[in-house]
């Protein structure tokens, strides 16, 4: 497990979103992380950060006709944009609407888990800058597992076995 998110702490400030854009040079119109607001303006309002869950059994990878999507040994799911032809099968398959396309014909892009940062020992952008520490992103799976159990976050359930845990909302 890598992403551990405490929804009770997310204030929807957009720090993760901007840090992700800036560090990964993400184009206008593409969102590798989103914050979804539920019950806006009412009791029970929640802001839920969502990005690629780097599932154990990625549906996107399964359906990709180009074999452009791969999963590394450490669990990180990546898309090879040179192989991608923009067919969008992955978008149909992903239960969480993660794959992003700039426009018709564009190749897919999504959260890379800031793989270059992970490989050089740095924390991914969203978790590194989160204003309230609502988003925790482990440098390793064991670090994240420990965090999840310490705050009582539950792993997201689903056929793809998403590699993320949330506290305060059931996905």
């Amino acid at each position: 497990m890598r992403f551990v998110i405490d929804v009770g702490k997310c204030i929807d400030c957009g720090g993760c979103w901007v840090a992700c854009k800036d560090i990964n040079d993400v184009e206008t119109g593409i969102e590798r992380i989103r914050i979804v607001t539920l019950n806006e303006g009412k009791t029970g309002e929640k802001s839920v950060p969502i990005q690629c869950f780097h599932c154990d059994h990625p549906a996107c990878m399964l359906v990709c006709p180009q074999e452009a999507i791969t999963k590394r040994d450490d669990g990180i799911v990546l898309v090879n944009q040179d192989k991608c032809v923009g067919c969008r099968y992955c978008l149909w398959a992903c239960p969480y609407g993660t794959p992003q396309f700039k426009k018709m014909g564009s190749v897919m892009e999504k959260c890379t888990y800031c793989v270059e940062r992970i490989d050089s020992g740095l924390r991914p952008a969203c978790g590194g800058f989160c204003a309230t520490k609502a988003i925790f992103v482990g440098k390793s799976a064991s670090e994240a597992d420990a965090k999840a159990s310490s705050i009582g976050a539950a792993r997201v359930k689903g056929p793809t076995n998403p590699d993320a845990a949330y506290k305060g909302v059931t996905l």
């Binding site: 009770g8 204030i11 400030c13 720090g15 979103w17 560090i23 979804v36 802001s47 204003a131």
Partner: protein, 924 residues
């Protein structure tokens, strides 16, 4: 998160462009920049590359610095490659933010490298903008200043200063106005927390946040009243939510269900402009149940009985009728306040920007006194200041009624500062006095000047209480669209001889006035292109390191001031070897707040940041052991650890203890015996001295010498467990204020005309900071306005934008999140006016109308509408983008809510009212 993510493509007023600078070093050639829309700035790109290659430090450096957005003072690491800012990284052991940043902080690289920055001095003449040299610009400005001073007098120039520059520059800016012979100098604090300062200082000595950001981790009740930290101070929520996780009750009282309210344990909606009855209702119930802290009140406060005589009438039922809050809810809140300690109260513009702003804050402070929560960890009054250095700019008193460190405009104060200035370059009190004009037989040296909120009346109002109206204005690091009555201001800017805008961006200073000439804009460098100290809201002074050299032809505000001073004949007074030298001069003279934080000590703290605890900001080991982060003032000497909690008197002064000053002295007071106007002793129980003691001279005798002695280190007095500023009482009753005890007063434009007779606003004032200010006349004229303008209009913050928005609306990321201005309206109202989400609507008041998107949401109720205030570039639906110098308009423009906010002002400080006026809304 984004207002309407899919709307971005359809937004006609946004220009998107590719990022350039971060790729610069990676790509490394000018050719690589071709084809991405930058060819018009070829020469500046060349310059940048030249700078990059010329820098001596090659490779990657991570430099500790301080965020430039809100007043939290978050740390971050600037990633600098070959002299170019290519990214930022978390400063993980920074004791305030532990690496965290919000959307604006995370955008700093993009903001610094913004393509829309003003790149060189520009002058408007013949209806067009022309590039000019610094030499030409400064010569022309200085010549005009001399000319106006000679013909109209020094008060005909208004110096609108900034909370977004360093402490050193703020200090020098106030000094600059003094050397130019005027008190017509002011800055953002006037329109953000001037009422906080007046309200708290008149209750218990100082006007600053009593506790700190981190200290809220230890609260048991965190009470927001007119504060939305999730949007305005995002990282503060880290500490608040930690406090909540440890069992604190988090209550948000606000007219609007904010993102902060979403995370609260309890939300209370109350009517804009009714803070005082709301708080008095809580106090009323506490006293009736005998839940108040009688011991604290007896030993450390004055005026409780007179206060109760007023507050006894605000029963929960009376309050329900005024505020929308049910009597039972008031009782529940009173119970919480009385049975949960420590409890802190937090606010920002929601409380301050009212005609009764000072009274609002007084009521909060009285609630803290009543429950004995002030002076405790986890308690206190936490005024969340706005701009990154607005506390510092307030401390340096870029204000028309004070000299640096809250010295009044008396002869003694002037002599104190002239004495300090004379140590740098020769000047006497008589020299200084000769620079000032007289009016009505009195030297204007001793008369408060015009304020930010109404400076334009100094141009337009021929009866202005000074020799001649204002003819020239410096807009020096201030967004004019944060000031109300923008149409009056536009008129004034078209009438003056010269407008000088100084800012990293061209801003509204360049574009608001519709005139063919008479505007000069100068590119100031950003805060990341110079060194200096900044003070956050918690009085913590931090050193902000320069990340890169100034981009383009931009220059530091200090350099610009020095060049002007040289041309005006007082250059030596503004010539320093380093910002450190300026800070040492501040350290020497700023006795009232005892700002003795030396550059060496605050830089040492920066180096050893990992030794400081996030729990209380104290260093637990290392060379700074025992010190508090930022040495929060008062910091009495070079061994003092700073005062993290004001008025905490259960620990020695030497360890950061503090007392209420013996500041309030009625007419019969003598040295050693301060008494109220009705003869009651104002000595209050102090640490180790239960009988209290008066303020003292450096030899320990009673007197006000502590404010003026430049050489004492106070160590002897502090060793006796005494505070040199005395141990006195806080005031429930402030006899010198227009309302010694706050009472409810309906807003100028009220939805409850039936309450005006019982709760009227103030009488008109003829000379309120030199201009006439109408209260009762306009309230009476508009008594039945609600019949035609039925909706209450309030303004406030978006998390993605800051202040007037020139920086953030120039950042493509932040603009992608918040591309256009909008009005939040309730679904019920939307349905009534036939507006769907994101339709354009007009919001109209007596001042005019603005065109914004309709944001349909239940955040607001049927009676209220809300508009963010960061927007500019349109005037009543029409873009004035063509009036900016080419390429300098922000990426996103919009109509400003301050075009339509009410013309009401605080009776004590001239704070503008932005939270309670009446409007009507209809579809475009």
């Amino acid at each position: 998160m984004a207002t309407k993510p899919d709307s971005i493509v359809g937004c006609s007023n946004i220009k998107m462009s590719r990022r350039t600078f971060s790729k610069l070093t990676a790509i490394g050639t000018a050719a690589a920049l071709g084809g991405i829309g930058l060819s018009k700035y070829d020469h500046t790109i060349d310059k940048l590359i030249e700078q990059a290659s010329a820098t001596t430090s090659s490779g990657v450096n991570h430099i500790k610095t301080i965020c430039s957005h809100c007043a939290l003072g978050c740390g971050l690491l600037g990633k600098v490659e070959n002299g170019v800012l290519t990214g930022i990284e978390p400063w993980e052991d920074h004791p305030i933010n532990a690496g965290s940043l919000c959307s604006k902080g995370a955008a700093i690289r993009e903001i610094v490298n913004s393509e829309t920055r003003l790149k060189y001095p520009m002058k408007k003449s013949g209806g067009k903008w022309h590039r000019i040299s610094w030499e030409e610009a400064l010569d022309e400005i200085a010549a005009k200043m001399k000319d106006i001073k000679a013909t109209d007098g020094p008060d005909s120039i208004f110096y609108l200063g900034s909370a977004k520059v360093t402490n050193e520059e703020c200090y020098l800016f106030r000094k600059f106005a003094a050397f130019n012979g005027t008190n017509n100098v002011d800055h953002q604090a006037r329109i953000c927390h001037s009422t906080t300062v007046a309200g708290m200082a008149n209750t218990w000595s100082f006007g600053a946040m009593t506790n700190s950001w981190n200290d809220m981790r230890h609260s048991k009740l965190i009470f927001f009243c007119g504060e939305n930290a999730a949007a305005s101070h995002p990282v503060a929520m880290q500490h608040i939510l930690e406090g909540k996780a440890r069992g604190a009750k988090f209550i948000v009282a606000d007219p609007r269900f904010t993102k902060s309210a979403a995370l609260a344990d309890m939300y209370v909606r109350f009517r804009p402009g009714t803070d005082i009855p709301f708080i008095w209702g809580i106090c009323n119930e506490i006293v009736k149940n005998n839940w108040h802290d009688t011991d604290f009140i007896e030993k450390r406060t004055y005026g409780f009985d007179q206060w109760w005589d007023v507050v006894k009438d605000y029963t929960p039922e009376v309050v329900e009728d005024i505020t929308w809050v049910k009597a039972d809810t008031i009782r529940e809140l009173a119970y919480e306040w009385a049975h949960t300690s420590p409890a802190c109260i937090c606010w920002a513009m929601g409380a301050t920007q009212h005609t009764v702003g000072t009274n609002n804050i007084r009521s909060f402070a009285c609630l803290e006194l009543l429950t004995g929560n002030v002076g405790k960890s986890g308690g206190g009054c936490n005024a969340f200041r706005g701009h990154d250095n607005v506390q510092g700019a307030t401390d340096m008193c870029v204000l028309s009624h004070w000299l640096p460190s809250y010295y009044g405009l008396t002869e003694g104060s002037w002599k104190h500062w002239v004495g300090v200035w004379n140590e740098h370059a020769p000047i006497t009190y008589d020299n200084m006095k000769a620079e000032f004009a007289e009016y009505n037989g009195k030297s204007l040296m001793h008369v408060p000047g015009l304020t930010v909120s109404r400076w334009y009346e100094g141009v337009l109002d021929s009866s202005v209480a000074q020799p001649k109206p204002v003819k020239m204005v410096f807009v020096w690091g201030h967004s004019l669209n944060s000031i109300t009555e923008m149409k009056r201001m536009k008129e004034a800017m078209e009438k003056v001889d010269l407008v000088v805008g100084i800012d990293p961006h061209a801003t509204v200073a360049s574009s608001l006035a519709d005139r063919p000439d008479g505007i000069i804009v100068l590119p100031a460098s950003t805060v990341f292109e110079k060194d200096g100290s900044v003070s956050n809201s918690a009085r913590q002074v931090q050193w902000r390191n320069r990340l890169i050299d100034p981009l383009y032809e931009s220059k530091s505000d200090y350099w610009i001031m020095k060049e002007l001073a040289t041309r005006l004949g007082f250059g030596p007074h503004f010539t320093y070897n380093s910002p450190e030298d300026v800070l040492r001069e501040i350290n020497r003279g700023a006795n009232v707040i005892m700002m003795r934080e030396s550059p060496e000590r605050i830089k040492r703290q920066q180096e050893h940041s990992s030794d400081f605890s996030i729990e209380d900001c104290q260093a637990k080991s290392g060379p700074c052991k025992g010190e508090y982060w930022g040495l929060p003032w008062p910091c009495w000497n070079d061994e003092h650890p700073g005062t993290p909690l004001l008025y905490r008197n259960d620990i020695p002064i030497a360890e950061g203890g503090s007392e209420f000053r013996t500041r309030f002295r009625g007419k019969d007071s003598t040295a050693g015996n301060p008494v109220s106007d009705d003869g009651i002793s104002m000595l209050g129980a102090g640490y180790a001295h239960p009988e209290g003691y008066d303020e003292m001279n450096s030899d320990g005798t009673p007197g006000s010498g502590w404010k003026y002695d430049l050489d004492s280190d106070w160590k002897g007095i502090i060793a006796e467990n005494k505070c040199p500023s005395g141990a006195g009482k806080a005031r429930f009753m402030a006899w010198n204020l227009p309302d010694p005890i706050p009472v409810h007063r309906e807003p100028i434009e009220t939805p409850r005309p039936d309450l005006i007779d019982k709760y009227p606003t103030y009488d008109d004032v003829d000379d309120h900071f030199r201009v006439k200010c109408l209260f009762k006349t306009i309230q009476d004229e508009r008594k039945n306005l609600v019949d035609t303008y039925p909706i209450i209009l309030s303004s406030g913050r978006q998390v993605e934008h800051m202040g007037g928005g020139a920086e953030t609306r120039s950042c493509k990321y932040l603009v992608e999140l918040q591309p256009e201005n909008y009005v939040e309206i309730n679904p019920g109202l939307a349905s009534e006016i036939g507006a769907r989400h994101w339709d354009y609507v007009w919001v109209e008041t007596l001042r005019g109308r603005i065109k914004v998107r309709a944001y349909v949401t239940e955040r607001v109720n049927r009676e209220t509408a809300f508009i963010p205030y960061h927007w500019a570039g349109w005037m009543e639906g029409k873009s004035y983008e063509d009036r900016y110098p080419s390429g300098t308009a922000e990426l996103a423009l919009g109509d400003s809510v301050n075009i339509i906010c009410v013309d009401g002002y605080d009776r004590s400080t001239n704070m503008q009212e932005t939270k309670a006026c009446l409007c009507k809304i209809y579809k475009v």
